[in-house]
């Protein structure tokens, strides 16, 4: 088993006819995901990788019983797409799209919460549950079924770490790329709570980075509520203060949000922090 998605999840791809949508629909199918429908306004009636395309989400849900959606539509239309998915009653929406104005997310997230819908992202690599399903853009071959839950704010850095885990024999229950934007649907703490509750997950990997206080809050939550072993990596130790590092998230302000502060918080919570990304498996071996 896994958190959030499983073999039974019936996945809808919003923006399926675009380059990314099409490419990753193929990859998700290859992963074993039940991709049951796609949506692109105006392209209803066509097919992509054998998946029927509809004009609207309501129709896709009605006709194909989709219950989760992954969004690839461009930033300017992502808010509309997410709201359409939430209002069609989907309970899991993964937003891959990057560069969405965060004011749009300020509207989407409370709506999702009021409807009991879990949003992952935006600006994230999505979700992968090896042996179950994938809703995301992570390379398929990285993963291996196992008992570690992975939570990360980053994309490629996560691939690096998951790859190292898999090579060292540490498989994953689910890998959640929560995304690096200022306003995200599922926080590090939310994801930790899911893994703590999941019976199959025996250990947890947290991949953080500078900016914001998500890691500090995660450390606090781990100390109070998480009984499973947690190990961490924090990117940005050498980043100079006051510079933005791509992720809107990565801005250092004062002494909050620095790598030092995050590493210190994790260590105080009994979470060992790897110096190198590839150090994660070694730390896992000790759990």
């Amino acid at each position: 088993m896994a958190v959030l998605l499983s073999k039974k999840s019936r996945v809808l791809v919003q923006g399926i006819t675009g380059h990314q949508g099409q490419f990753h629909t193929r990859a998700m199918l290859d992963f074993g995901t039940k991709v049951v429908a796609g949506v692109t306004p105006g392209k209803g009636g066509t097919k992509v990788e054998g998946v029927p395309v509809f004009d609207g989400v309501r129709e896709a849900v009605h006709r194909r019983r989709a219950n989760a959606s992954i969004i690839f539509v461009p930033a300017a239309y992502a808010k509309d797409a997410a709201i359409e998915a939430i209002e069609a009653g989907l309970k899991l929406v993964v937003i891959i799209t990057e560069r969405i104005p965060f004011h749009d997310c300020l509207e989407v997230m409370p709506l999702a919460r009021s409807r009991g819908c879990v949003v992952i992202g935006p600006n994230c690599p999505g979700l992968a549950s090896p042996g179950q399903a994938k809703m995301g853009i992570m390379p398929n071959q990285l993963f291996k079924e196992g008992d570690a839950g992975v939570i990360s704010r980053s994309g490629t850095l996560t691939y690096e770490i998951v790859n190292a885990m898999t090579e060292a024999g540490f498989g994953q229950t689910t890998c959640i790329g929560i995304g690096g934007d200022p306003i995200i649907g599922t926080s590090m703490v939310d994801a930790l709570a899911m893994f703590q509750k999941d019976r199959k997950t025996k250990r947890i990997v947290v991949v953080g980075e500078i900016g914001g206080t998500a890691e500090e809050e995660a450390a606090d939550f781990i100390e109070r509520r998480v009984t499973k072993p947690v190990v961490a990596y924090v990117a940005g130790r050498t980043a100079p203060p006051g510079k933005r590092m791509g992720h809107a998230g990565a801005i250092i302000q004062g002494n909050r949000g620095t790598a030092e502060s995050k590493v210190k918080a994790f260590e105080a919570a009994g979470v060992p922090v790897a110096e190198y990304p590839v150090g994660i498996p070694r730390l896992l071996a000790a759990t």
């Binding site: 104005p101 300020l106 850095l157 991949v207 990117a235 992720h247």
Partner: protein, 369 residues
Amino acid sequence: MKFLEYKAKEIFARYRIPVPQGVVAASPADILDPPLPCMVKAQVLVGGRGKAGGIKAAESLDEARTVAGQILGMDIHGFRVKQVYLEERLDIGQELYLGVTIDRSAREPLLMASAMGGIDIEAVPHDRIYMEHIPTVVGIQPYLVRSLLKQLALPKEVGDQIASIVGHVYDLFRKEDAELVEINPLVVTKAGGVVAGDAKLVIDDNAEYRHPEYANLDQDRTPLEQEAHDKGITFIQLDGDIGVIANGAGLTMATLDILGLKGGRGGTFLDLGGTDDPGKVKQAFEILIEAAPSVILLNIFGGITKADTVALGVKQALEEMHTKIPVVARIKGVNEAQAKEMLRSIGMYPAETVEEAAELAVKVKSGGP
């Protein structure tokens, strides 16, 4: 996007936030009819200009020109002053702080205020700062303003003005896609009026497309950073000498960190993002070479991408640019062996892991291996 004070105040005025009279000037000769007496204020995208001598008083037109001449061209924390703003002098009774920003943890805007305005908000004791989240679903509500006014212990006449300013500030924050709207000081004049003494405004870069009118504003970037920005490349100049380029912000940061642990210092943060487009790879390398690093450290975790294709793209880019800067490359993806071979064949230093690549970069820089 950051805004110079005078530009931010133009926007404030559109949202009916009271601002003092003022004129902007790029040279003393531009100054014709400033409000007098006035303050002459350096327009730079950096804090601390007052202490740095960037704000001075003037009583007459002549004095205003003289003072402006002194301030224009100044270097304030690395920023050259290109414009001054001449603003009516306020008869200050009290200086407050008012700001709206975004709280990532709560996923809501945060309303901040303090009766200790005029100084850096980070220097104000925590218990002297009013902070409440604004529920986006409903916006500013009367209870928020009531609790703010109570905590700041302000008299009713001033309170009514601040209530209205808070509403306008939030309106601006939402409609202009702001990350930060800050008024420090928010001045209560001796006559009891409330006016924005300063104006700080940062707008979400991702929302630039909704505000084309702000597209060409000067930002706090180096010329090379600006060039990269214009090309849509995420690039930051750092103070080291090894040019780091990787795909993904997190991986680029981690690469810099690993380099640091191996004794090197990154001179660039260059996030290549998607590696599909050879044109983009080339553009990125052009920027990188302009930054003149002693060695380039390339780290690509492709996953889906073919490693040999990336290697080919890098090879072509470097060959076309005739650069002699050594390149250490670690490219992970399908067909890694071929990629490694190709890199070696053109005199690059291939590496298996990031750690190895970082060590190699430090060695190459020192004349080895």
